[in-house]
Amino acid sequence: MTKVAELPDLNRPGNGLLVPLFRFQSLFGLVLVFIAAVVFSPTRRGELVFLDSGNLFNVVRSMSEIGILAVGMTLVVLIGGIDLSVGSVLGLASVGVAVLLTGPGFGLVPAVLLVLAIGLGFGLLQGFAITSFGIQAFIVTLAGMQIARGLARIWSGGQGVSITYGGGPGQAPVVFSLLGERTFNGLVPIPALIFAVVAVLAVVLLRVSAFSRHVYAVGGNEKAARLSGVPVKRVKIIVFGLCGLLAALAGIVHAGQLNFGGPNDGAMYELDAIAAVVIGGTSLMGGRGSVVGTVAGALLVGVLRNILALRNVDANVQLLVIGLVIVLAASLQRMRPASVS
């Protein structure tokens, strides 16, 4: 009704160059931020600190937990949902794996599988509540956020659980400490590797699978999807299950990196994950977006934080900058023409 500012007609052939820019908005953003980081990088012994391979991998490592959460969040947002519980589930999983590994008689593999199953089950239950009782995802996962946090504190007795390694009773298998290590000549951090594998799997899933068509369709027009024979409820439950599973995986990585299961850890991570998804160009309305965008969004935030830290910018100012980037990304998305899918 009200008059809106005229946007350039991006469907015209002359504006063809703009289309890929919009489609890969976050990738372009990442490149820009990367270039800026190189330009503003401090030097040490004539070398750019930012470009030091150790530093670059640190960026990836620092974003790997958020990145894993954000991949799951992307699926949820694609169906038009939101999952506020992932930070708490991360905390619950970190406590769970720490307690199970340092408790008596649990092997590494059963412990990890059990914790992953808890995350999966938690997500499936949330999906079930959303689809069966018709409550909005925001509310169900807001409740889930409290419940998972509560469970984490009960399970740990309110205290952080330290993980010590060794063969003795109460000690975790040494293999688990690898999560804090680096591989390939001590270069690539294991958490970054896990993040990369998760991202690649998700990209492939969303490219080729029939399931992904259903995911996009549910987000694009739920009613039309249902009438077209898409099992809407099942799709939603599975998506929330996968998101919970990935949150648990992030929690295990978290415990391994810190050698510690923290019942209060992961608070606000859900918002960082949502930020990565939004910067990555996925529409909160559902039906539009990609995991590639999310990964780029997560890395963009990582690079930004890194260069600001390298320049000794105050941590509070960093928050301002990240906030502005979110607004910028969202406004770019609003300008995005319909022809960019």
Partner: protein, 518 residues
């Protein structure tokens, strides 16, 4: 009144508007004089609403000229038009359900007290006065959602009156009104007319137009095709102008589908009504043969949509029996229905048919992606092949496979929804108003596809509110009224007028036979 002597209150000259290369309104000249009721007629999609939205500032980017009292105007929005004294009563009720009547009437221009708060008392007083004038004694504090649809419609009329508009566009203002309410509305229109207002009256009801209007203009495909003296115009003249010649030829040619054995039999199908707005089936029996196209006729709210939805498994748990190819089925939802070979094309393609942002390809293959997938992976080539085949058969441009379906014309969008259904290889097609808002060319394509499907033995149930379409396309028509099948007609021996009369009720049939035209 000497028409020539009275200058026009509103004058549209050469007004046109296109959406993505499709002209919705072409070079229309249209005028309303002070104290005149000017009826605007046309089929769905003829451009009536677009033309009026242009007049009321809701649609911009048009060409041509609008003058009010001889002064050229170009409104920036509805509020701008309202300030100039132009108001529109919409077909879709534009009220905020949770707000009281008074707040709705004064929405966005609430009167203030001296201290700057909303002057509720004045709002309620003035609203009560307006409601009085229309003859409904409703409490202005009642929330709109607690009113019947007809009462809501009257509230929108009160709202238009409150603008003290000099030009009022009424788009199907009586669709939900009872006979006494209509009389009351006509009295108000008479008062407005005497006060020198000009009224544009859009309606499908010929008897109303004869009663209330002075002039009638007929639009077809966005152009003015005829102008009548409304009081002397007959229903036959008007519908001939509305339908035009081409429609006769768009219906499928050749012999009608000879029934090749029974495909669907419905016995005493009933659903206990879940909500007051729905007209669920209340004991419907009918059958469809292989290769047969059976029409569902009936007025708005007769239960056509609900019957199709029930057969597709989305309309509540029915009692009675549904036999498909002799076997009893109980579709529990779209997936189950599709497995049985039933496909459904819903009434509102934008709301229930398509993900408009998504590509034509994605929308077309949505119902079969999991069927053609191997271990969960969609074979790209097969997917593209299936979509291309359908798109070619439907006459949609192949280049548009990657384009968002929302960028296509209404007709092509509808073909995509139909194509998705056809891709599932159904034995029974359920179609709800498949040609609503679709241009003549696309209509012809859709009818041709239905003919093709039926010649392959597919049975079709087609719900439509266009008598011409039902008679032109179907072998038989079942007339629904109040959730019941009241009549079955052979289209070879039925006229449009008869069909319409049976839809309205038995009494109407006698009136028709006696009076010729209403």
């Amino acid at each position: 009144m000497d028409a020539q002597a009275v200058s026009s209150l509103v004058e549209l000259t050469g007004v046109g508007k296109s959406y993505g290369g499709v002209a919705a309104v072409r070079e229309v000249d249209f005028s309303v004089r002070a104290g005149e009721v000017h009826a605007l007629l046309g089929e769905n999609g003829a451009g009536k609403s677009t033309l009026m939205k242009i007049l009321c500032g809701e649609v911009g980017g048009y060409h041509g000229r609008i003058r009010i009292d001889g002064d050229p105007v170009r409104f920036s929005g509805p509020a701008d038009a309202q300030r100039a004294g132009v108001a529109m009563i919409h077909q879709e009720l534009d009220l905020v359900p949770a707000l009281p009547i008074a707040d709705n009437v004064f929405l966005g221009r609430e009167p203030r007290t001296r201290v700057g708060t909303v002057d509720r008392r004045r709002m309620q007083r003035e609203t009560a006065h307006l409601l009085d004038r229309i003859g409904i004694g409703l409490d202005p504090r009642r929330p709109v959602e607690s009113l019947r649809t007809g009462e809501q419609q009257l509230v929108t009329i009160a709202k238009a009156l409150s603008f003290e508009a000099r030009v009022i566009v009424m788009d199907e203002p009586t669709s939900a009104l009872s006979a006494p309410e209509i009389d009351r509305l006509f009295t108000v229109i008479g008062e407005l007319r005497r006060a020198g207002a000009g009224i544009v009256y859009i309606s499908h009801r010929m008897d109303e137009i004869g009663r209330v209007a002075d002039r009638a203009t007929v639009l077809r495909n966005g152009s003015v095709v005829a102008e009548f003296d409304a009081r002397a115009m007959t229903a036959r003249q008007a519908s001939a102008a509305m339908v035009g010649r081409p429609v006769e030829s768009v219906f499928r040619a050749g012999a009608r589908g000879a029934a090749g054995g029974e495909l669907l039999r419905v016995q005493d199908l009933a659903v206990r009504s879940r909500s007051p707005g729905r007209r669920d089936p209340a004991g419907i029996s009918l059958h469809v043969g292989r290769g047969e196209i059976v029409g569902l006729a009936g007025l708005l709210g007769a239960g056509r949509t609900e019957l199709l939805e029930t057969l597709y498994g989305v309309g509540g748990r029915p009692t009675g029996r549904i036999l498909l190819r002799g076997e009893e089925i109980r579709p529990r939802g779209p997936r189950a229905a599709l497995r049985h070979g039933i496909a459904f094309v819903p009434e509102d393609r934008r709301l229930a048919g398509l993900a408009l942002d998504h590509s034509v390809l994605a929308n077309t293959v949505l119902s079969i992606v999991d069927r053609i997938a191997r271990i969960g992976v969609v074979p790209r080539r097969r997917e593209r092949g299936a979509a291309t085949e359908v798109v070619d058969r439907l006459g949609v441009k192949r280049a548009s496979l990657r384009a968002p379906v929302g960028s296509l014309s209404g007709g092509n969008q509808q073909k995509v929804v139909l194509g998705r259904g056809l891709l599932t290889d159904p034995v029974l097609l359920l179609l709800d108003e498949p040609t609503r808002g679709v241009d003549i060319g696309a209509k012809a394509e859709i009818y041709r596809l239905l003919g093709e499907a039926s010649s392959r033995g597919v049975g079709v149930l087609l719900a439509s509110s266009e008598p011409a379409e039902l008679i032109g396309v179907c072998d038989r028509v079942v007339v629904l009224r109040n959730g019941r099948a009241v009549r079955e007609l052979d289209t070879a021996t039925t006229t449009e007028a008869e069909l319409l009369a049976f839809s309205m009720g038995e009494g109407a049939v006698e009136g028709l036979v006696a009076g010729g035209t209403p």
